[in-house]
Symmetry: C2
Subunit: 242 residues, 2 copies
DNA sequence: GATAAAACATGACAAAAGTCAGGTTTACTG
DNA sequence: CAGTAAACCTGACTTTTGTCATGTTTTATC
């Protein structure tokens, strides 16, 4: 387990939120925050649980999902290191609107809602960052609605592979990049049955789009994948927050 | 055509955004804004067009939609009188992320982006309203994702009827409330083919859930509709901003 | 109120994707 | 490194939904 991270020399957390903070306030933040270790598979917070504050992922990987009335989970987005998550409390909701689960061993800092509110009061610039983050998440969600409403699973899978590849590879998505996640998670992103995803991945492999090594999926032809996903020319790959 | 609305005695616009404004600023707002009349079917602004500012619907009804690569439209949400829309410019985007079209004759006030920014600077409370509006739209969009990913058209249609009923009837959705919109629009909300919607509406009629009078759809049994949509017990009908 | 255009309706068929059941491989743990 | 659980894979079948074609009703406009 790692040492407790200090905010002053944290080169990981989202500077766009805290870039205006004076050093003295960074020290207070460092003192006020708590940092915890979560093993892969552990729940960070549950939908409908009380919303206590915001979280900042120091290292690891988180999935955010909702569960429908039949108990099936739908992954809404992933969180990678440096990102803030758990906005419910800021949005005026007393309860979490989503469940957060670590999918890798993770170190997560927690900032109490009232302390974060005080920070916003002192640094109103945070509002702007917050608003544009929410805006881009909203836009991503709306694009996902289009995709679910009009595209078939084959296209949505290609889309998901590209979006995930970009999300998990900071340099952008390139050929031979590797994705490591279960077929079930993939199905819960795309919104389909696990069997359908397995079948389609086999097809993709036969067509030379991907290579499969156990649970590792290696993208072999991103150009064709983009074409399949409908990302031709006009629009670029949607921003990876979705 | 109506007279130009004045902000000072406008009993329609979203007070949660402007409730803190001093009368002098309301007068300036009244002067700065422009007000235009749009006939049903007219486009207010286009996706990918330049984002100039925010709009406030004085009277009428607006649909917001995106068009997919095949030219099929997906309705994202509706705007009813008093609501703000066209957030793109506030979210830091230079272009509209969505298309807005009047579906009834409408009077719409327009506030320039720079003037709105100045207002926010003077009244930071507006940020809070903005953040919670965006939050609730985001949550609605995520719920719609669940719905599209896991429910079948029959359930989604029941859900849409209830959500629209609530949206268009300020007192809440009650039996015998009337919905007036085309089967095609309904299909573009639910994310399905128009024929499927027509068939399902006929089934709903046979089952006594709705009554159909031409293009008017009268909800006859909201209790059963809620059951069908999966709104049983636990969750209430999602907020109508979706 | 006649006429045209749009919206609505229905049937037949095809395609897409889900479900269930049975196997095999992979990866984790003691 | 053996044993076990979880993940992955494949086939057969069913259901849901979309598409296309054609006809009817409603609505809007002159």
């Amino acid at each position: 387990m790692k040492a407790r991270p200090e905010c002053l020399n944290c080169n990981v957390f989202d500077r766009s939120y805290f870039s205006d903070l004076e050093n003295s306030d960074l020290e207070i933040l460092s003192y006020e925050k708590s940092a915890s270790f979560y093993k892969a598979g552990q729940i960070v917070f549950q939908e409908d649980g009380r919303a206590m504050g915001v979280y900042c992922l120091h290292s690891g990987k988180i999935k955010l999902y909702k569960v429908d009335t039949d108990g099936r989970e739908q992954i809404i987005r992933f969180v990678t290191s440096g990102e803030l998550f758990g906005y419910s409390s800021i949005l005026g909701s007393r309860f979490n609107l989503i469940t957060a689960e670590a999918i890798e061993d993770s170190v997560i800092c927690f900032i109490d809602r009232s302390f974060f509110s005080d920070l916003i009061l002192k640094y109103p610039g945070i509002n702007k960052t917050l608003i544009s983050s929410l805006g881009s998440m909203l836009n991503d969600a709306e694009d996902k609605i289009i995709s679910l409403a009009h595209k078939q699973v084959r296209e949505r899978l290609a889309e998901a592979l590209l979006v995930l590849c970009r999300k998990f590879h900071p340099g952008g998505c390139k050929d031979n990049n590797v994705l490591q996640l279960s077929r079930e998670d993939l199905a819960n992103i795309v919104g389909s049955a696990t069997e359908t995803i397995i079948r389609l991945l086999s097809e993709f492999r036969e067509e030379g789009l991907v290579e499969i090594q156990g649970r590792r999926i290696i993208l072999r032809n991103t150009r064709k994948l983009k074409k399949l996903a409908g990302f031709e020319g006009i629009k670029s790959v949607p921003h990876a927050s979705s």
